[in-house]
């Protein structure tokens, strides 16, 4: 499971078409499609669809999006599922996909805000 924030290479595939890595025989290494939707006045990512490892945590995904959008240090990124709740940072995206995935992809809404205080 690659959790290092210094390795954004894995999800950085410019996918404009749905890709499921069928060549990976092992289920654990299978990537899932994640669709990122901006909420509010949060900048919209050029590439919205990413193929992400199942074992990647929400925290590492959040860090990747923050770096991609070049957010300030005092801005917090929030990720929501189904617009109903925020997954725990240690939650694996694979588990989220299994529970809340639809049409072969997991839709995550992200929003930046001055979260606390």
């Amino acid at each position: 499971m690659s959790d290092s924030a210094e390795s954004p290479t894995e999800p950085q595939k410019e996918d404009s078409r749905p890709t499921t890595d069928d060549s990976a025989a092992n289920d654990e290494k299978k990537k899932i499609d994640v669709l990122l939707k901006a909420v509010g006045d949060t900048p919209i990512m050029k590439t919205k669809k990413w193929a992400v490892d199942r074992g990647r945590t929400v925290q590492s995904l959040s860090q990747f999006i923050s770096r991609f959008l070049k957010l300030d240090a005092n801005e917090q990124l929030f990720i929501y599922v189904n617009q109903a709740f925020a997954p725990s940072p240690d939650q694996e995206v694979g588990a989220l996909f299994d529970c809340f995935g639809s049409d072969g992809k997991l839709v995550l809404h992200y929003c930046k805000s001055q979260a606390w205080g």
Binding site: Q63, F85, W116
Partner: protein, 286 residues
């Protein structure tokens, strides 16, 4: 949809959360304050957390200045023979010192030669080289500043309370933590135990995120997560739910955002249950 909730809505959401908690055996309970209708959700969790503590030792200097001092002994002048004896003793000590230094020098030369010899057998000598180099590094660090951070993993008892803030018209999370010996955590220790995902944001303004306050109903010192910006991060969720005409439990959604900050896990099963409830409701209305 109003982003500010009424207290009645808060009670309704709490009761709903309690129902789900009982189904999942998650441990939430409702506590009423004595003599009034107000109450709060309470949950106690025992978990292990890493409390970082940084220790900085001052530079230890072994200067000769502090130790050296000239001593004047206003004794009577030693006669010549006694002087000569002293001279002989000092001279012999110097010779001995030189001799020992030479012996040590020879020893270091021999050990270097031995290491060079061993390098022709790399498999056997690697460990020895690393050990000797490590010892050499430690000797060099004697006079430098030591900064060590100790990660102490402790078993802590957390108590979480969810109250309604009339000022902000939002729920507020109060909590306190104790060690196994019964010592309550300091504010700095709480800051240090925040999830790494939020630590950078916390470091910018820790006091405006988590601070210590008096519990509104119990009057005891608790830690509190500031609710000023609750509306800000709840807005997108509530707006989307309103657009899709889907009911959302404000307290549960809010808890899923603030809980992980202080180690309170809101299991995915809550959301799965909510989703199945919504699906059941939709199928019944059809």
């Amino acid at each position: 949809m109003s982003l500010c909730m009424q207290e009645e809505t808060f009670h309704h959401c709490c009761q709903h959360l309690l129902q789900l908690s009982q189904q999942l055996r998650d441990g939430w309970s409702w506590e009423s304050a004595q003599g009034c209708l107000e109450g709060y959700l309470k949950k106690t969790v025992v978990r292990s957390a890493v409390i970082k503590s940084n220790h900085v030792w001052d530079k230890t200097e072994t200067t000769s200045d502090s130790a050296s001092h000239t001593s004047c002994h206003p004794h009577e002048i030693l006669n010549f023979k006694q002087l000569l004896n002293v001279f002989y003793i000092v001279f012999s000590v110097c010779i001995l010192h030189i001799y020992l230094t030479y012996i040590l020098y020879l020893h270091s030369v021999c050990s270097d030669l031995y290491n060079l010899f061993l390098q022709s057998f790399p498999d056997a000598s690697c460990d020895d080289d690393t050990i000797t180099s490590k010892i050499a590094d430690d000797d060099d660090d004697d006079d430098e500043v030591h900064i060590e951070s100790e990660d102490i993993c402790q078993v802590l008892q957390y108590e979480y309370h969810i109250l309604f803030s009339c000022s902000y018209s939002t729920p507020v999370l109060y909590f306190r933590a104790f060690t196994q010996e019964g010592r309550s955590l300091l504010l700095e220790e709480v800051w240090n135990s925040v999830h790494p995902n939020f630590r950078q944001r916390l470091q910018n303004s820790p006091l405006s995120t988590i601070s210590q306050e008096e519990h509104p109903l119990l009057g005891q010192p608790f830690f509190k997560i500031h609710p000023c910006r609750t509306e800000e991060f709840m807005r997108p969720v509530l707006q989307a739910a309103h657009d899709q005409s889907r009911p959302v439990n404000f307290v549960l959604t809010w808890l899923s955002v603030v809980g992980p900050l202080v180690g309170l896990d809101v299991p995915l099963k809550y959301s799965i249950l909510l989703q199945s409830e919504a699906n059941t409701r939709d199928s019944e209305s059809d």
